[in-house]
Symmetry: C2
């Protein structure tokens, strides 16, 4: 509990620092319809977990926050750029309880505001130590490419009846986990950590991301609606290929598979969610998900344990953060 | 004529070199629906004028083509990224006579393929001499931001009845001219040209771009349909705010302005084009456009004449190129 309070204080400290940097960010005032939408989007908040990871990774290997802040902000802006464009592609009406940019303005504005947000991410990245810029550009470009690939795989899934588990895991790795890994890696690189430590830092973030995404899939169907903050069963209603659905389809016998398909075909929302979850329960897919999540979680902690930390205190904080993100409820 | 043949040989040489680099570009094979669309788009061709300018600017100040090629390719990819996204925003059905990406695939594919093309542009940029990367990133990011601003201004214009001439000129400067300036500037920077020469090189490209865009507006309404390759009067049909329309609206008396508005309101295409052009003619806007174009053209050549060229032969070629681009017909 004490450790948790300390973690909250650390998170809150860095989150405030990041918010403060974001709030003084020098956006041009014109054209209004280009810059207002992205300032709106950036103001919707979020946990700012990516820049926090980048800053903590820097501190883990001895770089102070001034050294990592430009890259940390670049990562947060990049993340928001992907959300802004994903919202168009997914036809999402809201983001963090507020209208998405393409809803509040229009699709063209959302495309172009996203593009210029992406440019701004690179502008911030260009402010790191010049000696580190070439390698950071390589890492950042790799991440950006992989995140786009993950989004494409996710869209491809919408046109497929069934997904193999390895395809599913590769999709979430690219779409959400590599960026968390990259946040850690970039912080480590800026601190001048060894190649091995940079790789371990990356692995910690990536595995943590995989565990988090699987947990997110479970919470979407089984979470406490008040704590989770989204409609329970939303993924089921839109027939999303989640860990649960993929696992169910991969282990079900022919008869159960037909029953699952029938359940997904139900029109009435409540009955559909209940029907699908009944089959999930009969197949024990939540237990499989929790086991897989636990597995990634332990791999993440194991990688973190191996780094040659300049500041072991930060390793403890990253460990607490991992527990905070993953064991929150399941 | 001899000079023109020599220019053609130089252009053709560099165009082939660029096509060859583009054709061996290492695109991942998967996800197919991410990479096929952008390979398709890149294969639609074009004059590759931006990378040619970058390479020539490098040679003007003594950098060989190996030194400028990564940046030249980054600029060409960036240009294509903007076209890909602009085509979505403009709801364009064709590009260079072929279906646009959002037509051949869909909008989501076009958004995401564009995004990853933009990432690839930065990946190429990251391959320049590391000592030059920080300053090149600054220039490239500035250009990218300005091009987005120009596209937004152009979209804003669609919702306005009248445009002031200075607004119009600022829009085309941002949307098309700064990138041509930036191509020259980046070539000069890579060659280690002085700050003053980099600025002059930029100015040459920007002013040439302004002259070219005004010429393009004139040709759209008055060009030889066979040479121009587009439907004559296309801009008039979609009520586009061009130099001609803006100039007409800015100099017309109240009565002529009403006549112009009435002409733009005609439904029948042929009558609309003829009606609008009759008023353009009465106001002498083509002459104004040609005078303005000539003015920018001379500024461009004047800037080019001032650079301390390492290789004066290249200055001649850039001068020939400017004449080739601008005096082609009017």
């Amino acid at each position: 509990m004490n450790q948790n309070n300390e973690l909250q204080a650390v998170l809150s400290h860095y989150q405030q620092l990041i918010e403060s940097e974001l709030s003084v960010m020098n956006w041009p005032s014109k054209p209004e319809r280009l810059y207002q939408p992205l300032q709106y989007f950036m103001s919707l908040g979020g946990k700012r977990m990516r820049p926090v990871l980048c800053i903590l990774a820097g501190e883990l290997f001895g770089a102070d926050v001034q050294k990592t802040m430009p890259a940390a902000l670049a990562l947060e802006l990049f993340h928001n750029f992907t959300l802004l464009h994903d919202d168009i592609m997914d036809k999402a009406a809201t983001r963090r309880g507020q209208p998405t940019v393409h809803q509040k303005w229009d699709e063209n504005i959302a495309i172009l505001s996203g593009d210029v947000l992406f440019v701004k991410a690179y502008s911030l990245l260009a402010m790191v130590d010049t000696s580190k810029l070439p390698v950071l550009m390589q890492v950042f470009n790799r991440l950006a490419r992989e995140v786009c690939e993950g989004q494409q795989l996710d869209m491809d899934f919408q046109e497929k009846a069934h997904i193999q588990m390895d395809e599913y895991l590769e999709m979430i790795r690219l779409k959400t986990s590599v960026l968390l890994g990259g946040c850690m890696e970039m912080g480590a690189l800026l601190a001048g950590a060894s190649e091995k430590d940079c790789q371990l830092a990356y692995n910690f973030g990536e595995k943590l991301g995989l565990a988090f995404q699987i947990q997110d899939d479970v919470l979407d169907a089984y979470g406490d609606p008040e704590k989770f903050g989204k409609t329970v069963g939303g993924d089921i209603l839109v027939n999303k290929h989640t860990f649960l659905r993929t696992q169910a389809e991969n282990i079900a016998d022919a008869q159960t598979l037909i029953a699952l398909e029938n359940a997904y075909a139900i029109n009435e929302p409540k009955a559909k969610i209940e029907g699908v979850k009944a089959i999930f329960d009969s197949l024990g897919v939540v237990e499989s998900a929790n086991a897989k999540k636990q597995n990634y979680f332990e791999m993440a902690l194991n990688d973190l344990a191996q780094v040659k930390a300049f500041n072991p205190k930060i390793r403890e904080q990253l460990t607490s953060l991992a527990y905070y993100l993953i064991v929150r409820e399941s």
